[in-house]
Symmetry: C2
Subunit: 144 residues, 2 copies
Amino acid sequence: MAATDDRRICSIARTMEVVGEKWALLAVREVFLGNRRFDEMVRRTGAPRDTLTARLKALVDRGILEKRPYSEHPARFEYFLTPAGLDLYPVIMSLLRWGDDHLAGPDGPPLTLQHRGDHRFVPQLSCEVCGKPAHPREVRAVRH
Amino acid sequence: MAATDDRRICSIARTMEVVGEKWALLAVREVFLGNRRFDEMVRRTGAPRDTLTARLKALVDRGILEKRPYSEHPARFEYFLTPAGLDLYPVIMSLLRWGDDHLAGPDGPPLTLQHRGDHRFVPQLSCEVCGKPAHPREVRAVRH
DNA sequence: CAGGGTGAGTCCGAAATCCAGACCCACACT
DNA sequence: AGTGTGGGTCTGGATTTCGGACTCACCCTG
C-alpha cells in the first residue's frame, strides 16, 4: 500500500532532466564544433525548428548556453557555451567514444580528433584524484 | 530549394539513438548499482512500468543488457550488462560528475564513490593515448 | 524597383510517446 | 483463505515531436 517513492536521489537523474531531452545534447555538440547559429544547427542536427527553439531556450535558462546578438536590426544571435556548458565536454566525448567503439560502420568513426596538435585524441574515463584510468569494477558506491 | 540534408554523421547522434530515450540510461544506472530486477528498477527510477518494459527490451535488442532467468516456473528475470553495456560506464560517470558539480544541493552530492578502496573517486575525462586530462580547448576535430 | 535569398523563428494538425494507475497471473508465505 | 511479490499488460488521456508551410525584416542583384 505505502506509496513507496524509493526514487533514487541522484546526480545522473538530475543531469538527465537538464540535458536528456531529445536534441539538447546535439545542440550542445554543434556549439562545441563552432556552429553557433540557429539555422546551421537545424541543418546539422536535423531537429525540428520548433523543438530546437524550445531546447535552446531551456539550455539558456539552465545556464548551459548564452545567447548573444551579433547583429541588431536584423536581430541575429549566436549561442555560446557558459562554463557549465563547457563542463559537458566529458559527457559529449564519452558518448562519442561509445559510438565510435560500438556503432562505427566499415569505414571507421566519422570524426577524428586531435589532442594538443600532436596525437590522436581517444576519450577515456579516469579518476581525478589518482589520475589513473577507471573501470567499473574498481569503483564502489558508498551510501552516505 | 535543394533538400539540404547536411545532417552530421556522428557517433554522438548514433549513441543518442540507442541510449537517449527517456529512462534508458537510468535503467542502465540501476544495473550498474546492482539492481537487476524489473520492480526494483521501477521503484528506483520512477519510470512508468510500461516505458521501462519497452526500454529494457530495446536495450537487450541493442546488445547493452542481457536478460537471464533466475527462476523458471514463476518466470523471473535479471538484467546484466554486456561488454557493450559496461562500456557505458564513462557516459554514466560523466553525467554524474556534471550533476555533482552543477546541481548538488546544500548537503553536497547524494552519492559518494570510492576508487580502488582507498580514495574518493572523481570522474574525469582524459586521453587514452597520452594519459593526461583533456580539456575542450586542447582538442581539434579533423574532417576526414 | 522587382525578385530572390537568409536568419530566426512561429504556427499547424497529425503522429508518436509518455504517463498514472488499474489489472493480471503464477506462485510463495502464513 | 488471504496477502504479498515479481513481472509484466492494458487503457485512455496528456504531452511531445514531427515535417512542412508561413512570417517578418533585412540585404543583394540586376
